[in-house]
Symmetry: C2
Subunit: 166 residues, 2 copies
DNA sequence: ATGTAGAACTTGACGGTTCAACAATCATGA
DNA sequence: TCATGATTGTTGAACCGTCAAGTTCTACAT
């Protein structure tokens, strides 16, 4: 496949992937596409929530007062503020979240989990955790799990630190 | 966070995640969200292609005759047939791909990379491979890379084998 | 005071993805 | 010959995310 192996390197200074690197990348890519998609589909069927919506509710649920600033939620859920804003608008319409401007502090907005929202997370959590176990955690060894964690942390910190998106 | 730790386990037979498992899952989740998003954004700027479109073209480019059946491409790129069909329609409109029904064989359709499509991949590949190196391959050790590969293969084969999406 | 910059959100339009329904073709057997 | 079903692809509507632009507020300089 062009771009993923060492063939046809007419260009100079392009370090194509070795076969091992290529295999690792293809396996990771498939993982990154399929695992979230499957978790998302199951959550949708079981609880009528997307994976992203669940993460927003879950992050809020563990906070003191079940409240957080929009931009904090965005950071915690690896999403853009715009995406979060749209999502919270939907969740607000469903009665799962309430928004309020905290006056005197610029344009800051707090999102709070309602009782219904909290009940929704409590309801959805067991099946979702079981899925995460079933599809990932229980499939790998503890050693592999720790490597996965280290890799995730390293790569993400590089993404956050470096020039994001470009 | 509800669903990701051992707190508030009122329910029986729910195995909540241990702190280590939780940390590994959160790191993986962030990785699976951010890495594809960043690669996608960079490819978009550099070559006006989404990551998915690039993968479709790349998969075709390494095939004999630069031709494949729709369902084969879908499998190779971990996408639904519907998603692929829409994408190929767009790529066809751009002149990068041509479709043709192979008569006498059910409803099978072949997609072929045009010369322009091939040129597009050749053009986009170096920068994309550099990104994959820069953001993943060169960030981790060879041992971590091999673990990542094993994990990816195990998890994906579980996803493909088990009941997909539900 | 006024102007300029910056931070924190929101909005609307646009384009991509999903889902369910449909279409086309072959295979099989009554 | 005709029904039934399995494969394989396409389509349209609804929905979601991104991008660029706009809004609302604070801060700080002139």
């Amino acid at each position: 496949m062009i771009g993923y192996d060492a063939a046809m390197s007419g260009e100079e200074q392009v370090r194509w992937l070795t076969p091992d690197e290529r295999a690792a990348w293809l396996a990771s890519a498939a993982l990154m596409v399929k695992l979230p998609a499957t978790l998302d589909a199951r959550l949708q069927r079981a609880a009528d929530l997307s994976l992203f919506e669940y993460m927003v509710l879950a992050v809020l649920s563990e906070q003191e007062g079940r409240t957080m600033q929009m931009s904090e939620i965005a950071a915690a859920s690896s999403a853009s503020l715009s995406r979060l804003s749209h999502a919270v608008k939907r969740l607000e319409k469903l009665g799962l979240i309430a928004r309020s401007r905290c006056a005197g502090r610029g344009r800051r907005t707090n999102a709070t989990l309602t009782e219904a929202g909290y009940a929704k997370v409590v309801d959805a959590a067991p099946a979702h955790v079981a899925d995460v176990r079933d599809l990932l955690i229980d499939v790998i060894t503890p050693e592999e799990r720790e490597v996965l964690r280290r890799v995730g942390e390293k790569v993400v910190s590089r993404l956050d630190g470096g020039c994001p998106g470009g």
